[in-house]
């Protein structure tokens, strides 16, 4: 299998300083938030790679860089061998852009309320100057809606139906790679199941490649074949789905799996995890997870662990590397 998506050494920094006048008066230094730090990963053609992490983990930032909505500070994202941020040939850029799509979290904000569904779905094709007769109708039926819905406005649909329309729009340009940024976290469980099933069916039938971003491990377990766990902008572990859930390596992954509410855990008395996610502007030294980690030692405070292969997985942890875990 060849990699369709290749992310190498990706870094994204945001300047979150106050305006310069305030800095001058308060003598405050510039403040730089590193949202994504040195993330490398590959997604094979027809693969579903999931990024999981809590708030501030940088997962949405990676998604936005992958589709070209944000520029990387360092590193590169190649899709089918083309780096949208460096490619100068306009024909290749346009072609690559048509291969990339995104499905957003909020189905209420991701459809222009003043546009008809037909115009929304067909926009990616019309913007290229291609003909689009009957396209909206065909796609609407493909995502389980009715062809008659093409002439309606978004407010006439429920949240789940809107997310189906978003899927239809994403499919319009016949993409190969779709970034799904928390596509069901705004939906109810019974509707979430409909949308997840639909997305999975389409992925299999059309041979799509997904980068699936979520904070919900149970959703990720259903969708992904490979999972990367992010903490404070860094990949701490990456593993095939079953390996991650059965033999998690990194202490943070273990904590996430342990802390996630379980449906068969009546009256379970868990020892809840300690601490909260630190301030990403001043992350801890060494391994960013060390203040919360039950296995941390002096080395973890000093030295940042590198990503190392451990079986089918990769993990960035001194304790795993030293065999302490």
């Amino acid at each position: 299998m060849t990699a369709l998506v290749r992310i190498a050494g990706l870094v994204r920094r945001f300047d979150v300083s106050k305006p310069w006048l305030n800095r001058l008066i308060e003598r405050a230094p510039r403040q730089i938030l590193t949202a994504v730090a040195d993330v490398s990963l590959e997604i094979p053609e027809r693969g579903v790679y999931a990024l999981v992490g809590e708030s501030g983990s940088g997962k949405s930032t990676i998604g936005k860089i992958a589709v070209g909505l944000l520029a990387p500070s360092e590193g590169a994202v190649e899709i089918g061998g083309v780096d949208l941020h460096r490619e100068r040939d306009p024909a290749r850029r346009t072609e690559t852009r048509a291969h990339i799509q995104m499905i957003f979290q909020d189905p209420y904000a991701s459809l222009n309320p003043r546009w008809r569904v037909r115009d929304i779905i067909e926009e990616p094709v019309r913007a290229r100057g291609d003909r689009s007769e009957g396209l909206a109708e065909r796609l609407l039926e493909q995502v389980g809606l009715s062809a008659r819905d093409a002439d309606k406005f978004p407010h006439e649909f429920s949240g789940g139906q809107r997310q189906r329309i978003c899927v239809a729009r994403a499919l319009a340009s016949e993409p190969r790679f779709i970034v799904c940024d928390e596509p069901t976290s705004a939906l109810d469980v019974s509707v979430q199941a409909q949308v997840l099933n639909l997305m999975k069916d389409l992925q299999e039938r059309l041979g799509l490649t997904y980068l699936f971003i979520s904070h919900d491990l149970s959703v990720v377990r259903y969708m992904a074949d490979r999972i990367g766990v992010l903490y404070l902008g860094r990949l701490v572990e990456e593993a095939p789905r079953d390996a991650l859930f059965e033999t998690p390596r990194h202490p943070y992954t273990r904590m996430l799996l342990e802390a996630a509410p379980r449906i068969d855990a009546f009256g379970r008395e868990v020892d809840p995890p300690k601490g909260e996610i630190p301030d990403p502007i001043n992350p801890p030294t060494g391994c960013a997870y060390h203040p919360r980690c039950p296995f941390a030692d002096e080395r973890c405070k000093r030295e940042r662990p590198a990503m190392r292969d451990a079986g089918a997985s990769r993990a960035a942890c001194h304790a795993v590397e030293e065999g302490r875990l």
Binding site: M102, W115, A127
Partner: protein
């Protein structure tokens, strides 16, 4: 048919029907607008045609036969013997035309400036909004007078009377764009971070396509409200300028010009020359304003 029923049952129509003051204001607006538009058909006299004027008719009180000619005028006549009713109808035409055109100019300028400032951000935003801030530190009537003065200096003397109306429009329009720009910029800042805008950026739509095709339709409701209230303000601004003698020329008198003429006779007993144009201006501005207030409440999703 179906569409008409939906319109009748819509929230907007419902809130309209259940606000008697709004219904009254709308009625007044329709009557006054119709009067202005149909002035050539309704007006009993053509007040600015010197051939029809009879100086003997000057200062005729309302509903009273003139002592010399025996003619009766509903609202009396002014010093020149012009029928006040006709003069008001024609004056309203000028006032409304200037008001509408000025608001349209302010709207186009303000909406474009606000969209660009809000969507582009950075230094473009800073420059546009600083200009707006500076302009806001002067009263808008002062800005209008300033622009009026400059424009008047630039136009050749023989064109001045013809150009006066257009100069008025430009000066009021330029002094009013700021509020449109501010509101549109604020709404654009919200909309540009919405995911439908990101979806459009993703497929490579150009900035102008996103601004005008995606963002613009979603920032129009506050614009509509400001435009309505702005119309009332523009009518008053026009009247103020004309009252001060820097607006509409006596050959094309607006309501403000009529009031200026009338105020000279107020204390000599000819009250009607001032009174009727003033009341018309008041009712016109108040009705438009009330409509604007209703629109603001009806379109505000938080109040619904």
């Amino acid at each position: 048919m179906n569409a008409m029923r939906r319109a009748w049952e819509s929230d907007l129509s419902y809130s309209f029907r259940h606000s008697p003051i709004t219904v009254l204001a709308a009625f007044m607006v329709i009557v006054l607008f119709a009067g202005a538009i149909l002035a050539p058909l309704i007006a009993p006299y053509s007040p600015f045609d010197p051939a029809t004027l009879n100086l003997m008719n000057g200062f005729t009180p309302p509903m009273t036969p003139n002592t010399f000619t025996g003619e009766t005028f509903w609202l009396g006549t002014d010093d020149q013997g012009r029928d006040m009713f006709s003069a008001i109808l024609y004056g309203m035409r000028i006032s409304l035309f200037v008001g509408f055109a000025a608001v349209l100019l302010a709207l186009v300028l303000g909406v474009v400036a606000g969209l660009v400032a809000g969507y582009a951000g950075g230094w473009v935003d800073t420059i546009i909004m600083r200009i707006a801030d500076v302009q806001l530190t002067f009263p808008s009537i002062l800005v209008a007078m300033l622009i009026f003065g400059i424009a008047k200096g630039l136009t050749p003397p023989d064109m001045r009377d013809q150009m006066a109306i257009w100069v008025l429009i430009v000066s009021i329009g330029l002094s009013d764009w700021v509020q449109f720009a501010r509101v549109v910029r604020g709404a654009t800042l919200v909309e540009r971070n919405r995911e439908y805008v990101q979806a459009a950026r993703l497929i490579g739509r150009s900035r102008s396509a996103i601004m005008f095709r995606h963002v613009l339709p979603n920032v129009t409701s506050p614009v509509l409200v400001i435009a309505t209230i702005g119309l009332a303000l523009a009518i008053i601004a026009e009247a103020t300028l004309s009252f001060l003698g820097v607006g509409a020329p006596p050959t094309q008198p607006s309501l403000g010009t009529l009031i200026r003429i009338g105020q000279g006779y107020l204390f000599s007993g000819e009250w009607w020359i001032l009174f009727f144009p003033a009341v018309t201006l008041l009712v016109l501005a108040l009705s438009v304003n009330l409509l604007g207030d209703w629109l603001r409440e009806a379109l505000n999703p938080r109040l619904r």
